[in-house]
Symmetry: C2
């Protein structure tokens, strides 16, 4: 009998989130699944790691299935580090993160705990994919995603990914998708609107809110693909060097 691929599953919404349960369900049909995920929501954690406090990790079982599960006290990036270095017997063949409840398209990728887990796996040399659905609801419908999750994960297992590249997959909010579009990250940002309030003691405080503004009219972007009801797949790298600017910078009087 062929050895099944070892698949590490994590997320940033926490181990009990419906999104990760769907992902586990599909990955169980592809390989041996080990879940190492945060014990509480970690949205917006970016690539945070835990340096100044201790980490805890408990073997638990959230629901039925052959997967092995661990809940950890840290961030998504911590979970991947713990899984690879302490929990797993061998390097996983694939790491999948998500399914995030909410978009990680465009600039959201840099704030995303879901994608930071995928990037962390990539840094460790593991092929990795982050999955997100453009629906913040806890009871979002993840069923239409299943065939795509299977197809994309199988392709990565079969083809591999180049050194330094992971995939950022976003699903539009829909019951049926037009297909998959390989895209680039749209140049967009959040126009923050801080909600300023006064506490019962008379002290001012803020809530961070904002509006997503896309000024990138390209038809090859993730935002465009999602607007057209396609599943967007963006290859993401963690060499952040702006290579195109090096020659200009060398002409500066430094």
């Amino acid at each position: 009998m062929a050895i099944k691929p070892l698949i590490l599953v994590t997320n940033d919404d926490g181990i009990t989130a419906p999104g990760i349960r769907t992902l586990i369900h599909v990955m169980n049909t592809i390989g041996d699944v080990v879940v190492v995920a945060p014990d509480s929501p970690q949205s917006g954690m970016g690539h945070a790691i835990t340096l100044d406090t201790t980490l805890h990790c408990n073997k638990i079982k959230i629901d039925d299935g052959p997967q092995i599960e661990y809940a950890c006290s840290g961030t998504p990036a911590d979970c991947v580090k713990l899984a690879v270095n302490e929990i797993l017997d061998r390097k996983p063949d694939l790491c999948v993160s998500g399914i995030n409840h909410g978009s990680n398209a465009s600039i959201n990728v840099i704030y995303s705990g879901t994608m930071s887990a995928a990037v962390e796996a990539g840094v460790e040399g593991i092929p990795a994919i982050g999955f997100s659905l453009l629906d913040y609801n806890w009871d979002a419908d993840f069923k239409p995603l299943k065939t795509y999750l299977h197809k994309i994960a199988s392709n990565v297992l079969k083809n591999g990914l180049p050194d330094g590249v992971v995939l950022n997959v976003n699903f539009p909010k829909a019951t049926k998708f037009k297909g998959i579009k390989v895209s680039r990250q749209a140049r967009a940002n959040w126009k923050e609107e801080f909600d300023k309030r006064t506490n019962p003691q008379g002290k001012e405080y803020y809530w961070l809110t904002g509006k997503f503004v896309n000024l990138d009219k390209g038809q090859d972007t993730d935002i465009y693909a999602l607007d057209q009801n396609y599943v967007s797949v963006v290859p993401v790298q963690f060499d952040l060097t702006a290579h195109h600017f090096i020659s200009t910078l060398n002409t500066w009087d430094l």
Copy 2:
């Protein structure tokens, strides 16, 4: 009288750290300085933002000088968002972050709160620089950096930076530098070593530790420049798209 440039100063070690005090001191000689920095250390926070809790911001004065100072409860990225959207009357001409106590060269850039502040400013369209010194000591000697801080900041104010690019500047631990080398991010990573312990109640927990491993032998990297006692300047982008892999990905059976 010419209007002086408006310079936003922040960091991730907290507003009282010696590194940011040196940076404020030098920036005061270039422009009008407003400091909006975390009220506590935020190292390793990556690009975390505060979504689930409130933010506080207090006008304070840590030491002498013409700068205006605010201490905030959030992450470095939160500080930049608050500064730009709530505190400052106009868009700053420059944002500088640091000086970080410790390296943000190579892969450290993705974990770095210092660099996340610079990137956040870049996202908002503000020329930005993150500065770091390869010395974790609280009483590290920042004096030898001063002429370089001035020179690099002045160059960015004069020349600007392209849309989507910020600078990651790292200083070797030395009393004298050979000069500045424009570099690329070295392909290296941390080899984690979790320190597993047992608490007084008999429960296991971990401390994250690790060893930095550089397998990138290129002589154009930040690590190489720093090893040779040069100040390393890496242009950093936040379009994470791995453009070089898009054509291959389009040949997949997706």
